[in-house]
């Protein structure tokens, strides 16, 4: 057992979970944002510095003139001042004639990767400059002079330091505020979670310091709604536990109380039978012993049934039931023939369903007890039935007898009194079962004396018919 607990360590705290989620979210978001801003920053840097390159190349192309059948370049300083806008970048340039011969510049300035002769306009391309990555542009200028005809190409290139620096700066400017916002979010979430967790911590503290036998409800004031749900569920659970404890205690003390007298009586009868001096006396004692024993059996049945009913009331789920079927089951079981042979029990039910939400076993036990009381203490004819009267459903038993003794009549609505059941074979314990069932399913017991005799009913709220 201890090993199993060790295998299942305590779950991470909510704070850790939320923080992990937030950090993960921030990381993913941060990486995405950094990548996006890096791309857009690089594009911005590329565009702006490409423009510089193009400007410089155009300046140089402007300065080409034809002299004595040769292309001459009066290299403009302004072109290099443009390039010096990227102050730390090395530059390369070349001016080449129609026959690819170098007019001026650096011989190692690269050409665009593929020749596309029909294409006019600037061609940007990436290449290297003494092993360092660089960006180049090539533009061409067409001459159609008497002594010179063809295309002069100007290539200008620059290393990438300024572009990289600009990209990094743009990215930093985009990412830095987001990073700060992320940290703020992290701090805020820690604070919020802690404040939200405070009631839970208070509850945890309350539970930890609580007496294990204390089943009184936890206070639910000033508790967030979400937590209150848990707390109320817990309180309901504790109340049920409390009731079950009570029921168990009652059962034990009732049993002790109720069994003591009959068991003592049986012992007396048994001793009487042993001590009997003649057969007639022994037979009489034995006969009493048998009756006592049988009635003790009945009492035990009833007590067990009551305990079971009380137990089920708290634990069995409520189901939709038809009280007519309950009545029918009771009659069908033919138990009454054992209790009172020869007495006819008639079933009185209508055509309409009499539905309630309850536990079938408990209702059957309640009905059976009502019936057996009527059979034992009432007078025939005995009838059992179920009907519906407005919002109430009834399971009733009727007989022609005088009804309950008046001292019990007034206490029908009360909780079962132990003293009422002190006499074995009494109606008290049976009624206590009915009372418990009525209580459990929000109903009551109703007794009425009418022209046809005494009718006792278990009244429960009727279930709305299913649509």
């Amino acid at each position: 057992m201890a090993e199993r607990i060790a295998v299942h360590p305590q779950g991470r705290s909510l704070l850790t979970r939320v923080l992990r989620a937030v950090i993960l979210l921030l990381l993913v978001g941060g990486v995405l944002a950094a990548a996006t801003s890096w791309f857009s920053g690089r594009r911005a840097a590329r565009e702006s510095y490409d423009r510089l390159l193009l400007g410089a190349a155009s300046d140089i192309a402007e300065s080409i003139r034809i002299q004595n059948g040769e292309a001459m370049v009066d290299l403009p300083v302004s072109a290099f001042e443009l390039l010096a806008q990227a102050p730390d970048d090395r530059v390369s340039y070349a001016v080449r004639g129609p026959d690819e011969s170098l007019i001026t510049g650096f011989d190692d300035a690269p050409r665009p990767p593929t020749e596309r002769p029909r294409l006019t306009g600037p061609r940007f391309f990436d290449a290297t400059m003494q092993g360092e990555k660089a960006r180049f542009v090539e533009i061409s200028r067409r001459f159609a002079e008497r002594d010179f005809s063809g295309e002069v190409r100007v290539t200008v290139g620059q290393t990438l330091r300024a572009r990289d620096a600009m990209t990094a700066q743009l990215m930093l400017e985009a990412v830095l505020p987001m990073g700060l916002a992320g940290i703020a979010l992290l701090v805020a979430s820690v604070l919020i979670i802690r404040s939200a967790m405070r009631p839970l911590e208070a509850i945890a503290d309350g539970l930890a310091t609580r007496d294990p036998y204390d089943l009184t409800p936890m206070p639910t004031e000033n508790v967030p709604r979400e937590v209150a749900v848990i707390l109320e569920a817990m309180n309901r659970f504790m109340a049920r536990l409390d009731r079950q404890f009570d029921a168990m205690r009652n059962l034990i003390s009732d049993s002790a109380h109720q069994l003591r007298t009959p068991v003592a009586a049986i012992r007396v009868q048994a001793e009487t039978a042993l001590d009997a001096e003649d057969d007639a006396c022994r037979d009489a004692a034995l006969d009493r012993l048998v009756r006592r024993t049988r009635s003790l059996g009945t009492l035990l049945d009833q007590m067990l049934s009551r305990a079971l009913v009380i137990h089920r009331n708290d634990s069995a789920p409520r189901q939709r039931l038809d009280l007519r079927e309950v009545a029918l089951d009771i009659v069908d079981s033919r138990d009454h023939e054992a209790i009172a042979p020869g007495i006819e029990v008639s079933l009185v039910i209508g055509e309409d369903a009499v539905e309630v939400l309850a536990d079938a076993f408990s209702l059957t036990e309640a009905g059976r007890n009502l019936l057996s009381n009527a059979l034992k203490h009432g007078a025939p004819p005995v009838r059992i039935g179920a009907d519906r009267d407005g919002g109430e459903a009834r399971l009733w038993v009727e007989d022609a007898g005088p009804g309950l003794p008046p001292e019990l009549d007034g206490r029908l609505g009360e909780r079962f009194q132990r003293s009422a059941a002190s006499r074995e074979d009494s109606a008290g314990i049976g009624l206590s079962i009915v009372t418990a069932v009525a209580e459990a399913f929000d109903g009551r017991i109703e007794a009425r004396r009418g022209a046809e005799g005494f009718r006792i009913s278990l009244v429960l709220p009727a279930a709305e018919p299913e649509t």
Partner: protein, 348 residues
């Protein structure tokens, strides 16, 4: 005429001239440390020596193998070293900064970064690979004994007027660097040409007065001091300050004065890059700059001393636009222009 004069000067001073591809002109070993820092430079050993001695004094484990080169030869050597054809220096220190910019642009340098280098203004630093260590003006010098005070040109316009008004008395007595022989002369002339308004007129004036294009600061300064030249244009001020000849006046042109900053670079293949970095840091330190200032390599910035408006200072920035100066087509055109002007002198 130019060649003749150059030849005369060569004979007179015993210097080898007009041989840009020749090897170093001078060499010196400074310090006795075991780690040898090989420094190739265009600066005269005598001028830079105090700074280097102070450096090895602080770093006794180092010694400096100092080689003095002509700027064009040094450029050719550095290119060869960059291509792996020659053993590389550990540091290159040249006044021909357009060549230095070209070397850096050709990925021949390596990065170095320190507090001192980062403190440099942007015009004196490029890519953390090239640093301007000095500040030297291009000046007009004149023989104060021969040129009357009222005729001393304080601006280029005054010089132009002088050349226009008295061409005969100035004939053959104005000197400037020969841009074909001197990388520095080319750099100054090229930068002047960017200030196009005066440059064309200046060339025209040189032609009218049959000016002499010659080589080498020391010779020009000496000739002005001796009175063979009345006036010399675009002479590096630091050399004048070092020679400190009598009867030579110095003018920082008030319309604008070019300021050169010598470029320091650590080649990619340097074997002692840390030592080279340390030397750079020393040269840029307060102590190093004080020594350089004393050597005349940093012009005093006190406005009272220089009488030069800050707006007239034109620093030659270490930046890609200097690449234009080395452009094949551009320099060919520029040299043609120059040659035409000076050929006009030689012909009549």
């Amino acid at each position: 005429m130019i060649r003749l004069l150059a030849l005369l000067l060569t004979v007179a001073t015993g210097f080898t001239l007009a041989l840009p591809a020749s090897a170093q002109e001078d060499r010196a070993r400074i310090g006795a440390g075991n780690t040898v820092l090989e420094l190739r430079s265009t600066t005269d050993v005598a001028i830079i020596r105090p700074a280097l001695e102070a450096f090895v004094g602080q770093n006794p484990q180092l010694s400096i193998e100092y080689e003095q080169w002509g700027s064009n030869a040094l450029y050719a050597d550095s290119l060869a070293a960059c291509a792996g054809e020659e053993p590389s220096a550990d540091a290159v220190f040249s006044s021909a900064v357009h060549q230095m910019v070209a070397l850096v642009n050709g990925a021949c340098a390596q990065d170095y970064q320190s507090e001192a280098t980062l403190a440099l203004p942007s015009a004196r630093r490029w890519r953390n690979q090239l640093w301007g260590v000095t500040e030297e003006p291009a000046v007009i010098i004149y023989n104060s004994a021969l040129l009357a005070e009222e005729n001393v040109p304080r601006t280029r316009f005054a010089l132009l007027d002088l050349m226009r008004n008295t061409p005969l008395s100035l004939a053959g007595r104005i000197a400037t660097y020969d841009i074909e022989a001197s990388g520095l002369g080319y750099l100054f002339a090229y930068n002047d040409s960017l200030e196009a308004t005066t440059f064309g007129a200046m060339l025209e004036g040189f032609a009218r007065t049959q000016a002499v294009a010659t080589c080498c600061s020391a010779e020009i300064i000496g000739a002005v001091a001796e009175g063979r030249f009345l006036l010399a244009y675009n002479v590096l001020g630091s050399y004048v300050a070092n020679a400190a000849p009598a009867d030579v006046g110095v003018i920082l042109p008030e319309d604008y004065t070019l300021f050169l900053t010598r470029g320091y670079m650590i080649p990619r293949q340097a074997r002692q890059p840390q030592a080279a970095g340390r030397l750079l840091d020393f040269l840029l330190s307060t102590q190093g700059q004080t020594i350089l200032r004393r050597a005349g390599l940093i012009y005093a910035q006190d406005p009272e001393e220089t009488a030069l408006l800050p707006s007239a200072r034109r620093a030659i920035a270490l930046a890609p636009p200097l690449l234009v100066a080395l452009d094949r087509s551009k320099s060919a055109q520029f040299r043609t222009l120059w040659r035409t002007a000076f050929a006009a002198i030689a012909l009549p």
